[in-house]
């Protein structure tokens, strides 16, 4: 009895910030000691590492009795009962391991270097890059030929390809020089530097060059994408019985004139489409005032709107800028600008999208209430077929609803057209990106809305690009619906 009590030694074992008193029998060996510790701490013996006793880390075959253990001796145990960490199943991908092309997909689109007052061209180019159909067609069409337009177009195609393949800034030297050769008005120099130019002019010039290249039978891709028609009625206001003259006019972009009353884009456009002009009346055989009333007849896939902010001011001999704010919507509805006939044509598409939206709202409301039962309602065969038919209808060429989504804005900052700075704001995969030459960054939608004007010396929207279809990589892909 005595022998046993004498043999026992009290060790103070520290573990994880706590101290445990353990009565150890040195004669019994390490495994017993470790088992004692396991019962106290839950750490399995093979993970227990004990230090503070003689001879470094306590070995399993060590002889405790030979260690000269002292009553109350302190030692320390290391070890956890925690699970051994496993490597994550999905291996993380690293930027550094990706090729330039892979990176380009992950990174923001590349910016364009400013080659000396080329921001107007850069912003027009970046806005153009948001039109996938254009590049698809340009890729498909043969671009041999020595015409300056053709050369410009192929340089453009090469540039686009280069930008797709890298996350880095691209310097568009070749394209810019060919473009200037093709359109010498952009070759103008001031004090040995290339002069600032109008972004909208650059945009239309590029469109013209592309239209020359991308021939499709009688028409061309640009015409297919941007070309719309409007019916223009000319009614003489001075002679009621003179029959109104009706003709059809093609357009590639709409102009929004800004006067003292202009507040919003829709009104500005509508006002611009009905205006009074003077022309020679065949019946009166003199100059007479006519009411020119235009109505949209066919709507293009892409609608570009030119806010006419620059006008030539004779007294200062400069193109001055109208800084009046013009609000523009994120989704533009052209319904009211259409002719009655067209409106009727649009009804079908509009009904489909409206009812879909209402259904979605309804579903959302139910989901909020918790009526999940009805939400999961199975779609019948008939319904499915109808839905597919609707989809097919909407996917047809041109805009079939009157609704357009804003996808690009070119803004100008500065007092007159010959100076200042152009940047492009482009919707990319659901995010708005700001392309300021070589700098590309994500911005909030509010920032884009702010370019409508209001604050002095800010960027002001100068050209707007609206689209019918939202590309696959955006979250709300499909046809643009009601706001």
């Amino acid at each position: 009895f005595f022998g046993i009590t004498l043999r026992m030694v009290l060790l103070k074992v520290k573990w994880g910030g706590k101290t445990y008193d353990v009565d150890v029998d040195p004669a019994l060996g390490v495994d017993v000691f470790k088992a004692q510790l396991q019962s106290l701490t839950g750490v399995p013996p093979d993970r227990q590492k004990i230090s503070g006793l003689k001879g470094g880390m306590l070995k399993d075959d060590a002889d405790l009795s030979a260690m000269g253990l002292k009553e109350g001796q302190k030692c320390m145990m290391l070890g956890t009962a925690d699970a051994i960490p496993e490597a994550p199943k999905e291996k993380p991908k690293f930027l550094e391991d990706m090729t330039s092309e892979e990176k380009a997909k992950e990174y923001l689109p590349s910016g364009l270097a400013n080659l000396g007052n080329t921001c107007y061209l850069n912003s027009a180019l970046q806005t153009m890059r948001v039109i996938p159909e254009l590049w698809r067609d340009l890729e498909a069409c043969p671009t041999q030929g020595n015409m300056p337009e053709q050369q410009t177009s192929s340089a453009l195609r090469a540039l686009h390809k280069q930008m797709d393949g890298t996350p880095e800034t691209v310097a568009p030297h070749i394209f810019v020089s060919l473009f200037r050769q093709c359109y010498p008005q952009f070759n103008q120099q001031e004090n040995g530097h290339y002069a600032q130019q109008d972004a909208e002019e650059a945009w239309s010039s590029m469109m013209t060059a592309l239209a020359q290249t991308m021939k499709k039978g009688d028409s061309n891709s640009i015409e297919e994408l941007f070309g719309g028609k409007m019916s223009v009625t000319l009614k003489c206001l001075e002679k009621d019985d003179e029959p109104a003259e009706v003709k059809s006019e093609a357009f590639r972009s709409l102009k929004c004139h800004i006067n003292n009353q202009t507040v919003g884009l829709e009104l500005g456009l509508t006002e611009g489409m009905s205006e009074k002009i003077t022309k020679t009346s065949p019946s009166l055989e003199r100059e007479a005032v006519y009411l020119k009333d235009a109505k949209l007849e066919s709507l293009p896939d892409y609608l570009s709107v030119h806010l006419v902010r620059f006008f030539y001011k004779a007294d200062v001999k400069k193109k001055a800028k109208v800084v009046r704010p013009v609000q523009f919507p994120m989704v533009l509805d052209c319904y009211t600008m259409c002719s009655e006939e067209t409106k009727k044509r649009l009804e079908k598409g509009r009904n489909i999208l409206s009812s879909r939206r209402d259904a979605a709202v309804e579903r959302k409301r139910n989901a909020k209430k918790g009526d999940s039962m009805e939400v999961d309602e199975e779609e019948t065969e008939e319904q499915k077929a109808a839905r597919l038919a609707d989809d097919e209808y909407l996917a047809g060429p041109g805009n079939r609803t009157g609704w357009y989504e804003l996808c690009g804005v070119i803004t100008h900052k500065g007092r007159d057209a010959d100076g200042g700075h152009y940047v492009a704001w482009v919707k990319h995969k659901g995010d708005w990106l700001l392309f300021d030459d070589n700098k590309v960054e994500i911005v909030r939608e509010e920032k884009v809305k702010e370019t409508a004007g209001g604050a002095a010396d800010n960027h002001l929207a100068y050209m707007l690009l609206y689209r019918t279809r939202i590309p696959e990589d955006a979250p709300n892909k499909g046809v643009c619906g009601p706001p």
């Binding site: 302190k74 956890t80 994550p88």
Partner: protein, 886 residues
């Protein structure tokens, strides 16, 4: 009329007679203006007495002399003007001298001689030539009794002449006894008249500084000792140590243990340190001393007293730090994003899908997280759910995983018990890199802490012969960090064979040498010195290793052994010069600058500047010039004047130096100003961060981090955020910017990396060692930190200390008292009772101190046990104050 003409001509004629030296003095004074009636009277009286003094009759002369003396003593006048009698005696000065000689010629000890001599001595103070010690000569002739009859200024002047005379006589080997007698009389006067600095000066001049000890009392020693220690900065070795030893003796004799200990630590004399510890009998005071030892990381042999040993081993550091952190409400973990302030940037510049990230930037985040949450035992990346932690670990690719796992050590810094339990599970990981990182973590969290169970040694020594080099390196580095400054023989036994093996991989050899350098920092250990030197010799003969960055780090390891050992370095420097010429100079320079670290030795700085004059064609042969530039900072860092001067030197080098020198400037500036962001330094570094030379800008970025380390300085934070934008596309620069941001927010602003503490008097050698390893590795960032040796950054851990001041009661429980914190004022040799801090604010302890701050208690209910209110301070209830309240 003839008489009147003579009178008119009088002054002119007299002026003509004056010898050249007196003319000089004449010029200073305005020509005699018309005297007032009163003055005229005094003048006449003085003239008359002088006349009488020349009287043949000694009795008459004596009487006249006595009257004059009384006049001189009683003439008060205003503070700013010369007493009138003294003024009027001026033109009689040479007459009086002549009279004295004449009288003495007649009778050696004529009547009234002592008084006469005393008076001339006084006049000599003002009117003698500058380079004659007439004042002293006549004083020695004069009465031997009173020394203070002519007041304070006279004693000062006399002391000055004694110094001059002493040097003269010493050179001529003449007797000096009479001088020493005089000194013995001046000393009590000085010590009772607030002139301790002058007393010290005098004794120093006559080379009898030891005598000061006898005169010091509990009331007057502080000013004297402050002066001695302040003085020692400007005295060349070995005299400086002599002075410090005297200060130590004074403190020791007067039982001022904390100050005695500080002095002993300043001398870095282990014998004096143990002597102080043993001499102190008060248990609470002993604890206070133990805290001071812990702060300086001096691990005395176990005393047998558990509490004391725990304090010395910094076993309670984590507890007190976390108490402070809780009190200051800074426990919430900080994420790297919070530090980068990504939310402040208006727009994200990259959009990446969640599963893709840059491993370089992830590694940066690892370090940022480690630095920002260091010692807090909690964070958002490494201490959560195991799955999340491993996910983060794997976002650090390959060898970067090592640093990621090692960051756990930083987070659990100083908390050995809990930290080891957390690290342990990663030792079982299937990923070798994680295992290696866990080994490093074991070492890192032990940094500065001594644990009697030695878990780090037990754990890490098992991996020293591991097959994997990474694992070995990690274990070696862990040992070095865990036992830095401990001088443990076991470590030397384990690591020396690894260094000595010439076939061993270079990295194993280098890291083993660095660990030895850390553990035996400043010991000049012969065995280790020899082993490292031999390796340098052998490896510098190998083509592939001689120019390797790691071979250069081997030199640093050697330098660490001699850190602060200026007296013992010569042999080692000589040995370095015999190495392969490609590395000899580099090694020599490294070892030498290490030896003079923090001494402020001007001679050495000059020698280093000499090195910069040499124009070297090939850049790779000029590496030693970088070391020389950094050496200037290393030497100057210890002392205020020197570090200010070094800044000017750096400006010159920036303007005229070669790129290889400019590169080292940011590093040198960082060294001088670690955790001490002075505006001029920030500005210079800010400019250099945009330098065209890549290496310079990289170093400047890291330097900004070091200069701001642990200060949360808003200006640097802003600079770094802008740099992050500027270098957004340059991965390496961005990495360094991130790391610098992490350092800036070191311990969320509760920690510091400055190696100086205790009123900036003491230099923590292990801290300097850690800083040096990192700064030297910055000389070749591309090969080391930006390559696979990023974990070198963890060597900074040895420099990390809390910048808190926490007050404890005698039971070592934290107690809150109100404390004034303000900028420290240098009060050395300032008369009266000057304020020691300025622009203070009153807080409740615990408080944080900036580098230039000083704290003092704002209550008299408590008394600090140490006058140096820093780090951990034990307070005693002040009984006197309590009685007053009653």
């Amino acid at each position: 009329s003839a008489n009147s003409r003579k009178l008119q001509a009088g002054p002119m004629a007299e002026k003509d007679k004056k010898s050249g030296d007196e003319e000089v003095k004449e010029e200073v004074h305005l020509p005699e203006v018309e005297l007032s009636e009163e003055d005229e009277k005094i003048k006449d009286e003085v003239d008359e007495l002088v006349e009488k003094l020349q009287d043949e009759e000694d009795g008459v002369a004596k009487l006249a002399c006595e009257t004059l003396c009384t006049m001189l003593k009683t003439a008060t006048g205003t503070v700013t003007s010369i007493p009138k009698p003294l003024k009027f005696l001026r033109r009689h000065y040479s007459t009086l001298k002549d009279t004295y000689t004449k009288k003495q010629a007649k009778n050696v000890d004529f009547l009234g001689r002592p008084q006469f001599a005393d008076m001339i001595s006084l006049l000599a103070m003002s009117y003698a030539k500058d380079d004659v010690t007439e004042c002293l000569a006549f004083k020695l002739e004069g009465s031997s009794g009173e020394i203070d009859q002519w007041g304070h200024e006279y004693v000062r002047h006399l002391a000055g002449e004694i110094g001059i005379e002493y040097q003269k006589r010493k050179a001529a080997e003449k007797a000096i006894d009479d001088l020493l007698d005089l000194v013995a009389k001046i000393l009590p006067y000085d010590f009772t008249h607030n002139s301790e600095p002058q007393a010290c000066d005098l004794l120093f001049e006559v080379e009898r500084l030891d005598d000061v000890v006898a005169h010091c009392t509990i009331d007057n020693h502080r000013r004297g000792c402050d002066y001695l220690i302040g003085d020692s900065d400007y005295v060349p070795p070995p005299l400086n140590k002599e002075i410090q030893k005297v200060a130590f003796k004074i403190y020791k004799t007067l039982n001022q243990y904390p100050l005695a200990l500080r002095c002993a630590m300043l001398l870095n004399d282990m014998d004096l340190i143990s002597e102080t510890m043993e001499a102190c009998e008060d248990e609470t005071m002993k604890k206070q001393l133990a805290f001071m030892l812990g702060r300086q990381r001096i691990f005395l042999d176990p005393t047998g007293d558990d509490t004391l040993d725990e304090i010395i081993g910094n076993g309670k550091l984590s507890e007190f730090f976390l108490y402070t952190a809780r009190d200051l409400n800074s426990m919430d973990p900080k994420t790297p994003e919070q530090i980068y302030k990504t939310h402040l940037q208006d727009a994200r510049t990259t959009s990446l899908s969640a599963n893709i990230s840059s491993h370089t930037q992830n590694l940066a985040s690892t370090f940022v997280n480690a630095f920002a949450n260091a010692a807090f035992c909690t964070d958002k990346l490494m201490t959560g759910e195991v799955t999340q932690v491993t996910e983060w670990l794997h976002k650090n690719k390959d060898h970067r995983m090592m640093s990621a796992a090692a960051s756990l050590g930083m987070i659990f810094l100083w908390d050995v018990d809990v930290g080891l339990a957390q690290v342990d599970k990663f030792l079982y990981s299937h990923e070798e890199y994680i295992k290696a990182g866990a080994l490093m973590a074991v070492g890192i969290l032990h940094s500065g802490v001594r644990n009697d169970c030695d878990p780090a040694l037990a754990l890490l020594s098992d991996y020293l012969d591991n097959k994997t080099t990474d694992m070995r390196v990690a274990a070696i580095m862990g040992l070095g960090l865990a036992y830095a400054g401990s001088k443990r023989e076991e470590i030397s036994e384990l690591l020396v064979p690894l260094v000595a093996d010439s076939d061993m991989a270079l990295e194993v050899c280098t890291f083993a040498a660095l660990s030895l350098g850390l553990v035996f920092v400043g010991t000049c250990d012969e065995n280790i010195t020899e082993v490292i030197t031999t390796q340098l010799m052998e490896r510098s003969e190998k083509e592939d290793q001689v120019n390797h960055a790691l071979t250069k780090m081997l030199c640093v390891a050697l330098g660490l052994l001699f850190l602060g050992q200026e007296e013992n370095v010569e042999a080692a420097v000589l040995a370095c010069s015999t190495l392969n010429e490609k590395i000899a100079k580099y090694c020599e320079m490294t070892v030498k600058t290490c030896a003079y670290a923090g001494t402020g030795n001007v001679g050495q700085v000059k020698e280093l500047m000499q090195q910069l004059f040499e124009k070297i064609e090939k850049e790779e042969d000029a590496a030693h010039q970088s070391v020389a530039v950094m050496g200037i900072g290393l030497i100057a860092m210890g002392e205020v004047l020197g570090s200010d001067m070094s800044k000017r030197t750096f400006e010159h080098i920036l303007q005229y130096g070669e790129p290889v020198m400019r590169r080292a400037i940011p590093l040198a500036m960082a060294l001088v100003n670690v955790s001490n962001p002075q505006i001029i330094v920030m500005d210079t570094l800010g400019k250099l961060t945009h330098d065209a030379d890549q290496e310079t800008s990289s170093n400047a970025i890291l330097a900004l981090g070091l200069v701001g380390a642990g200060t949360n300085n808003a200006r640097i934070a802003n600079m770094l955020r802008q740099l992050a934008n500027y270098y957004a596309k340059e991965a390496n620069h961005l990495f360094l910017v991130r790391v610098a941001q992490g350092m800036l927010f070191l311990g969320k602003g509760l920690l510091t990396m400055n190696p100086f503490h205790s009123d900036r008097k003491l230099m923590n050698r292990t801290a300097v060692a850690g800083l040096l390893i990192v700064l030297h590795s910055c000389m070749d960032l591309k090969a080391l930190i930006l390559s696979k040796y990023h974990f070198l950054l963890y060597y900074l851990v040895t420099a990390i200390s809390p910048r808190m001041m926490i007050t404890l009661d005698t039971n070592l429980d934290p107690v809150q008292v109100s404390v004034r914190v303000g900028q420290a004022v240098d009060t050395v040799a300032v008369p009266g009772r000057p304020k020691t801090i300025t622009g203070f604010q009153t807080h409740n302890s615990p408080v944080l101190l900036q580098f230039l701050d000083r704290a003092e208690l704002a209550t008299d209910k408590w008394k600090p046990l140490t006058p140096c209110v820093e780090d951990v301070v034990i307070l005693e209830a002040n009984k006197e104050a309590e009685e007053e309240v009653v």
